[in-house]
């Protein structure tokens, strides 16, 4: 009953039932992401129990190569790199979460206001986002951190400045398009107040794209923070921040273990977030769904 190989052409089935998250988690990618993220979560929580040494403790064993005593070797002040990498997770991960949550909140509020009220509110907010978008991210972040003074706190602020506009735009666009949507009008006709309409009708629809963006931004936040610290504009020594550790690694180039392992940590965390975000997007975006149906032809 079979035929010669046919050119690949799918009539992709129409919308899946929205929110079929169940199937997403079965994908190998999502699982890998969850495992990785889970491992790091364990590290973040239990690092005082796991890390063999105090991350700030200096010793006389400078620049020693990876060994059983020091899994990742030691750095220029004899500190155990492994412990420093583990402790660094307590900076990068929580900060990244904090950043994204704040950016989403700030952006969503501002974007929601802009979309809902329009007029000069919209103008002001939109011009601000234009401003931010006019610069490649790191230039702007750099400028802000340099102006405010290099510290981890200012780096976080800079990243926040750079991240919020995307959410503002997304939310604004959705609010504006949904404002015209029939079911919102229906809800208001039934007497619901504006605020209720906003919360109950608009919010759930906005959540989807925002969630996808946020999950992927988690990775970006880690990268940007690490990047700023790498440039010396973020965390200052002796804080065991991954980016600044790579920076030190660059200075002592031949001691490859000093820069490689912290960088690997960054990579694995961002990878985990991106795996998760990608699987999430697949689950929420019907067009990449797999269902092929023998359509009515």
């Amino acid at each position: 009953m079979s035929v010669q190989p046919v050119p690949l052409r799918f009539r992709v089935g129409f919308r899946r039932r929205p929110g079929t998250l169940g199937s997403a988690w079965r994908q190998p990618l999502a699982i890998a992401g969850m495992v990785l993220a889970g491992l790091w979560l364990i590290v973040v929580i239990f690092v005082p129990l796991i890390a063999p040494y105090d991350p700030l403790a200096q010793s006389s064993q400078l620049f020693s190569e990876p060994s059983t005593a020091h899994l990742f070797g030691t750095d220029e002040l004899g500190r155990d790199v492994f412990s420093r990498v583990l402790w660094g997770s307590r900076l990068s991960l929580p900060l990244a979460f904090f950043l994204v949550v704040m950016a989403v909140v700030v952006g969503a509020v501002l974007g929601g206001l802009a979309g809902y009220f329009g007029g000069w509110v919209d103008e002001v907010i939109m011009r601000s986002t234009d401003l931010v978008f006019a610069f490649p991210t790191i230039i702007l972040a750099m400028a802000v951190t340099a102006a405010l003074g290099p510290s981890l706190r200012n780096a976080v602020l800079a990243v926040l400045v750079v991240f919020w506009p995307s959410y503002a735009r997304v939310v604004r666009g959705l609010v504006m398009s949904l404002g015209e949507a029939d079911y919102v009008s229906a809800s208001r006709l039934l007497g619901a107040s504006s605020r209720r309409a906003l919360l109950v009708d608009v919010l759930p629809n906005v959540a989807g794209p925002v969630m996808v963006l946020a999950t992927l931004d988690l990775g970006n936040a880690v990268l940007l923070l690490a990047g700023l610290s790498f440039l010396g504009l973020g965390a200052q020594p002796p804080t065991p921040e991954w980016g600044s550790m790579v920076n030190t690694g660059t200075q002592f180039f031949q001691r490859w273990w000093m820069g490689t392992f912290p960088g690997f940590a960054i990579l694995s965390v961002v990878l985990a977030f991106n795996f998760l975000g990608d699987s999430l997007r697949d689950a929420l975006d019907p067009r990449s769904s797999w269902a092929v149906q023998g359509r009515d032809r």
Partner: protein
Amino acid sequence: MSPLLSVSGLRVRLPTASGPVTVVDGVDYEVERGQVFGIAGESGSGKTISVLALLGLLPSGAEVGGSARFDGKELLTLDRRSLREIRGKEIAMVFQDPMTSLHPMMTIEQQLTEHMRYHLGLDAKHARARAAGLLHEVSIPDPTGALGAYPHQLSGGMRQRIAIAIALACGPRLLIADEPTTALDVTVQAGILRLLDRLRRQSGLAVIMITHDLGVMSSIADWLSVMYAGRIVESGPTGAVLDRPRHPYTAGLLAALPHPEAAEDTPLVSISGAPPNPQARPAGCSFHPRCKHAIESCASEVPDLLQVSDSRRLACPVDPLLVPA
């Protein structure tokens, strides 16, 4: 003379999220040279899939069975290269919506000439001249101007004429038209049908006309096959079938057509129920749940398409002499 196209026992199964589904369930027909062969049916009847199968244009994972002999060649087992030789050159296709079947970013000239140059080996200059000629044939007012245009700059009727020109570019012997007028205004439809009719009379082109519109069918098709749930239920000369349908489904379709002379308060007749989903077709005759004349065996035995007179085939065991109400 042997028929140009002879299809027998054509079956198509498509992969779906819930397993393979038989979309076309045993189809037999012949198309003679110069004939307009109509296939009528609703959505879900499998009419489009059955013709896509002829050209090997089904989604990957599709399974095809049966036979389709075109000019002596068995299409369903042809190798890829030979199939490519036939597509566009011997058998060509016109799709329903020219806004989506023409490439939005290529000029008309490019779309007209690319397969001409591939199949016929023409150089740019000759292909262009031939393209202009084709546009003239399909009554496009300014052929040279149209060549440089993009699809979005032209009207719907013109786009479909161009699609027809594209199909005819390499001189095929069989044209498959899948709902060619459905996406067009009624006023434009007539023009397209007249065009098709003229062209096939001029060149002896055979046409497979797929449509759900019986009015279109009656004006252009010589022979009519009615498809339901993946099978042909009735087939014969168009006039005869539409005048005196012998299958309950055909009769129902005709009865459902509003009559312009009927009294104002004549109720609209429709066939109760809906066409079955290909994944859940009833046992026995697929139409039996909706059929007023169903007998006991209809629920268990699939009626074969039988020759009931020398120009009529019917797949129904019930009293064949039904007249539309």
